[in-house]
Amino acid sequence: MARAVTPRRKLINTGLAWAIGLLIFFPILWTILTSFKTEAQAIASPPLFLGFDWTLENYGVVMERSNYARFLMNSIIIAGGSTVLGLIVAVPAAWSMAFVPSRRTKDILLWMLSTKMLPAVGVLYPIYLLFIQLGLLDSRAGLVIVMMLINLPIIVWMLYTYFREIPVEILEAARMDGATLKEEVLYILTPMAVPGIASTMLLNFILAWNEAFWTLNLTAVDAAPLTAFIASYSSPEGLFFAKLSAASTMAIAPILILGWFSQKQLVRGLTFGAVK
């Protein structure tokens, strides 16, 4: 929304907004900066902002010491696997609700949303117990399933709001021309739905990557993703600020970059289409 304002006011707006923006971003910036310091420089008094000897040492130490690659791999498998699995289940469901709505569609959608509101801690023990009995505790497969289930309502909802924007007339025209259901889905719907599906994937991947209740409680060694890897720094020994920073930077960098592409979808996905 471009309103005409005096240059002076625009300057004030710009200065104020940048100052606040940088203040909010500062903890992240400080973490990234600290990751390039030595441990001694990381706790120097007064604090060093830019005038220090940049080093990559911490990244090396973190990767060597903690088997970082495995945690990263687990995060990718859990977030990626649950996203793909979720889409396989959600695309047909959202498709049918958007294009063949019945009287109960709205109720089903709202009910799905309500499962998302179930507090995790309320069902922690049953899931824990089921995981032990099914041999899923500390397994990637188990986490993929749980992550898929907790995000399934969001995936269905997002896809539903995207699919609803596809004009039904096109589908009707195709049906008139004798397109089968399979052709309809394959040649008309899929190409139009790709952007919506991509956004849904992105947001779901981010949510699963950052999830920290189930990943902390259901993993130990084998399936622990980056959330658990970082949590292991909560009881540190000796100097560790620089190493914590390096580990943190590596854990959040991929998602920060993905996240910046998904700002708009974030609003749609997290408000269930209520704010657009």
Partner: protein, 288 residues
């Protein structure tokens, strides 16, 4: 209109999602309900039979219960007030014409993408550490004694960390809502000489009311369940034990599953009360 064939095909396509979610909801829920009526101590004798409503009574009458309720309320309300108020101001600011708007937006939104364990640990160590934290340096610079944030001002510290994480969410949604505001209306009011505060109170705020309600409801549901932020900072010590955390401790730390499950049922009821309001708004939105 849909044919009978496409209707049954549609039902078939919906089935996997519905069945999976139904299972995900019902199986653990029934198990939690079941456990909540039993004396169940996995490490001390296992399942020792029915106890009626004993667990429910004991959970509420334990000395940890009311402090936990209070802590939960303080954290949820504190974070809501901070994020909604600052979110409105920030949204209005970001909606103004300026240079580099896109970059500022990115800076403001960034904390939302930081995983909870990272933001909690970065704040705990690099900012709130009483010796080497940046805030301690700042305090000393002004000649004040550094504060042991997470032990002496534990609740405020948690509220600060969580607010930092959720401010981007509130800002982003309110900004989206503000951008749909008819700017001509505002300009007309400005021409008529309506002062800034009046324009805010009579035009901007009413326009935002629905978005604010949604922000409050969604955040409440997530805030009632915050876990990692407490787990890696205080571990529930120094008066930061929320209701969720108390249940977690009962179930996994002291392995009193019956008692914890009764607490879980309370938490489910509480979350559902909030959820009903949210669903009403979302449901209304579906109709149009």
């Amino acid at each position: 209109m849909a044919t009978k064939a496409s209707r049954s095909a549609a039902r078939l396509m919906m089935a996997p999602a519905v069945i999976l979610l139904l299972g995900w909801m019902l199986v653990p829920l029934i198990m939690t309900l079941w456990f909540s009526f039993r004396t169940y101590l996995p490490l001390r004798g296992g399942d020792q039979g029915w106890t009626g409503f004993d667990n429910y009574v004991r959970f509420v009458s334990s000395s940890a219960f009311w402090p936990a309720v209070q802590t939960t309320l303080v954290i949820v309300l504190g974070v809501l007030v901070i994020t909604v108020c600052l979110g409105i101001l920030l949204a209005i600011l970001l909606d103004q014409p300026m240079w580099g708007q896109g970059v500022v937006r990115i800076l403001v939104i960034a904390p939302f993408f930081v995983m909870p364990t990272v933001s909690a640990l970065v704040w705990k160590n690099m900012f709130m550490d009483p010796v080497n934290g940046l805030l301690a340096h700042l305090w000393r610079f002004f000649g004040a004694d550094p504060i042991s944030w997470l032990s002496d001002a534990s609740l405020q510290s948690i509220i600060m960390i969580v607010s930092w994480q959720w401010l981007p969410f509130a800002t982003l949604i309110l900004l989206t809502a503000i951008q749909s505001l008819d700017s001509e209306q505002l300009e007309a009011a400005e021409m008529d000489g309506a002062p800034v505060l009046k324009r805010f109170a009579y035009i901007v705020l009413p326009h935002l009311s629905r978005a604010i309600t949604i922000v409050i409801l969604i955040q409440t549901i997530f805030l009632l369940a915050i876990f990692a932020e407490i787990f890696v900072t205080t571990g529930g010590a120094f008066g930061t034990r929320t209701l969720s955390y108390l249940i977690f401790q009962r179930v996994l730390e002291s392995q009193n599953v019956g008692l914890g499950s009764a607490g879980g049922v309370y938490a489910i009821i509480l979350a559902n009360i909030v959820a009903i309001f949210l669903m009403r708004i979302v449901g209304k939105n579906l109709d149009n």
